[in-house]
Symmetry: C2
Subunit: 480 residues, 2 copies
């Protein structure tokens, strides 16, 4: 049974998502700015948690942050043939400034390979300047036709890493290291979301890339969400922008580059992966508020007693638990319970006069709704108990997501089975088709090859579509 204002997932998953975004106060529609949203404080706080976890991993793996211009001369986009084809149709253009028409228009960056490539060409001279390992946190804009909060918006926030290397092998190692040690590690450990790691087929790769690797997560409706991509750009951009260096033998060489990014669509993934018909569910490691304390009292005398206990209980929480004491006087406890459930706070602590007498509190966990998730526990040792519970909830959410992903991924050997499998999840199958085959399957089923997983069984099989002998297995799914 869904809460007021939230459509049940089973009834309309798409509407359920929009209801969660609204009821949990995560975003507002910027209808006055086409396709844009406001990241409201509750939604933005999730992004801050994502930023913090990713930024630490990006720095631990040897990268530094920098910031490049928002505007890109329009001619820059044209320098890489595939790139312009991919992005030119969706850019916003700045044609005037200070009331005058500009000699050459700028585009608002849809991604920054071109403007950063221009600077890297200036900065790289010798093999000693390599590798360049830079990341940027920025806003980007892609004039999308169909938008959906967090998942697809005209303006979004992201990080984009851009690196330069002396050899193809180094660029490939960087691309895969980011995929595994930064993206998959973050999404699985912090977001509690298991992913497939794999290679994109040519028809799904980044415009201008040699190879695109990705992590793909499964949402509760069985559709795939691309949660991060890491591109080995080969020498495509290095040639277009003349990023060259003299090597140890004083020979001029063209460099190899990579780029990789994840965006605010991860907020959408987080919402869709764990939440339920009662509202948002946030894994504790990313929860802006991990525990909320709701004091319960009927009059000023009770209030004094309860608030004294609350202050005592929470005295040592700072730095250990991110918490909030809900002191709003004009709202009933029941209203507050509901609100914090909808907003996905992992643990709720209730303290009333009887709890004070007994030296206990009521403790409710968001991942197990109703009575089953509620227990009465002593005030003594509560801090450690909550810290442990938060880890337990994190593990529970991850295990649930793993079980869901496994039970909704079917190994299929015929096209008919594939079509059936993608109605509820992922289809895993041998593949020896080409881009035209992918296109036909997409037209017929709306499913695409999400990736060729890095982890392959080995051996050979029969292609699910063409019947040809195949050496690789792939994952088909409908996607966001």
């Amino acid at each position: 049974m869904a809460k007021d204002g939230i459509t049940a997932r089973s009834k309309d998953y798409s509407q359920w998502y929009l209801d969660i975004v609204r009821e949990a106060d995560l975003a507002d529609y910027a209808e006055v700015v086409r396709g844009c949203i406001v990241f409201k404080p509750t939604g933005y706080a999730i992004w801050e948690g994502i930023q913090s976890g990713l930024d630490a991993r990006i720095k631990e793996t040897g990268h530094v942050n920098a910031y490049f211009p928002l505007l890109i001369p329009k001619s820059f986009l044209m320098k890489e043939a595939e790139h312009v084809e991919g992005f030119a149709p969706e850019v916003a253009e700045v044609t005037h400034a200070s009331g005058e028409e500009l000699a050459e228009p700028y585009v608002i960056r849809p991604t920054s390979e071109t403007i950063i490539g221009y600077f890297y060409a200036k900065w790289v001279r010798s093999y000693r300047d390599l590798p360049i390992l830079i990341n940027q946190w920025a806003n980007v804009m892609r004039w999308e036709m169909r938008t959906r909060p967090f998942l697809r918006t005209a303006e979004f926030l992201w990080q984009e890493g851009h690196t330069v290397h002396a050899t193809e092998q180094e660029a490939e190692e960087e691309t895969l290291m980011i995929l595994n040690d930064v993206y998959a590690d973050f999404v699985e450990k912090e977001m509690a979301l298991p992913v497939f790691r794999g290679l994109k087929t040519d028809s799904e790769k980044f415009p201008g890339a040699l190879r695109t690797y990705c992590i793909e997560a499964m949402m509760q409706d069985g559709r795939a969400l691309q949660a991060g991509t890491s591109h080995n750009l080969g020498q495509n951009f290095a040639k277009a922008f003349e990023i060259q260096f003299t090597d140890q033998t004083n020979t001029v060489q063209t460099a190899w580059t990579s780029s990789w990014g994840v965006s605010t669509r991860l907020i959408g993934a987080l919402i869709m992966a764990h939440s339920d018909d009662d509202g948002l569910v946030i894994p504790p490691r990313l929860a802006p508020i991990q525990a909320v304390v709701v004091p319960i009292y009927k009059n000023d005398a009770e209030k004094a007693v309860v608030m004294e206990a609350v202050a005592r209980i929470t005295a040592e929480w700072k730095g250990k638990i991110r918490f909030k004491i809900d002191t709003r006087d004009h709202l009933s406890p029941g209203f507050k319970f509901n609100e914090w459930e909808v907003k996905g706070v992992p643990v709720r602590i209730e303290v009333g006069p009887k709890d004070v007498e007994k030296g206990s509190v009521a403790m409710a966990r968001r991942d197990i709704p109703g009575r089953e998730g509620k227990s009465f526990v002593p005030q003594e040792g509560l801090t450690a108990r909550i810290v442990d519970l938060l880890e337990e909830i994190q593990a529970t959410l991850y295990q649930r997501a793993v079980a869901f992903k496994e039970s909704h991924t079917r190994t299929v050997s015929t096209y008919a089975e594939l079509k059936e499998a993608i109605e509820t999840g992922f289809a895993y199958c041998w593949w020896a088709g080409d881009s035209d085959d992918e296109k036909r399957i997409k037209e017929e089923t709306r499913a695409t090859i999400r990736c060729i997983p890095l982890d392959q069984p080995g051996g050979t099989g029969t292609c699910v579509y063409t019947g040809k002998p195949a050496t690789k297995m792939v994952v088909f799914a409908r996607s966001y």
Copy 2:
């Protein structure tokens, strides 16, 4: 004597600044994007330190972060008369997207009062929704004619706080609290830079504000740099965007708003306040690298011994000192010393074979150049010694800046004295003039009233310019 590539301050202060920016590798000119710069990793790391210190204070004082759209419908700018006059001449306009002309052009935000005002009008209904205390970290764009790295660039990074209150008094308290507890506290304690806190005159206030408060710092050439502003917007924007609420008596009221911001120009202030003819000087609390270790050796045998000692010495630094071990083999120790001096690292530790024998290291402090700042200290207890030294350097830089500000602020009683004082610093004087008087003085001297300090001596005096009786003292200076 200045270093190679750095003009002496006494010779050409303006060129010295540009030389520091280049030699310390802080920024690159984005000549292909008019008036923009690239914030290179070393420069951006300073901004990350500034963000971290400010964000903590902004949150401690009860604010939360959010994110609003980059683009603003052009018509929004027109809704507040003074605001449009101030900003319309310097906006960049987006007129096309996806290859088609837009029905209404957008401007790239020069500041966000208008777009945020629009949303606040939607969100605020009752007095219970107030106060709204939101901050945003964002890029903004103002098409400036004359640009200078960090100090004035077409695109810059900043934070902008936007709050809504039920009463004028609350808005005023917020505006002043931000000035004192967030901006002045941060700039003085972390940037080691004393400031004047005061009110802007009407001719210098923010377009659309009722009152603008500011902090003003003194650079080494005696010019003022506005380091942060906090605006009581009165009901100007609330009226323009209809931000209204029903109060406790169910009467509809117009709200009161504030806005406040500091930007990447603080990086410019940091450079100009403390650096010397040898390069950048960064206060330890903001230094991305607080201590650099330069190992010294002539052969592999020495290298083994020295690197073992370096590993041992630095083993317990993590989490206490932000440090780097300079292991580059192709550069001489002398070259490295010079590079880290130019880049402003507060403490340099040198370890050679003789130091290993003696159980000591050489320790050089950046704030005292040459032999005087260098000492030989035991390896034992080194961590605590460096931690203490970092605090000492922070204090020394602040004291120097205070002494400089005091010795270059002259109390003047005649216009002739004022003109002389602003050649080398600030002029502090009684004032009873009007906007026309300010304009004339600006034309004649290029100096403006930087602020009417909050801290006033009381009593009355004679206006430095008009000779009229005056009740307020003001600070005149040339400014960046």
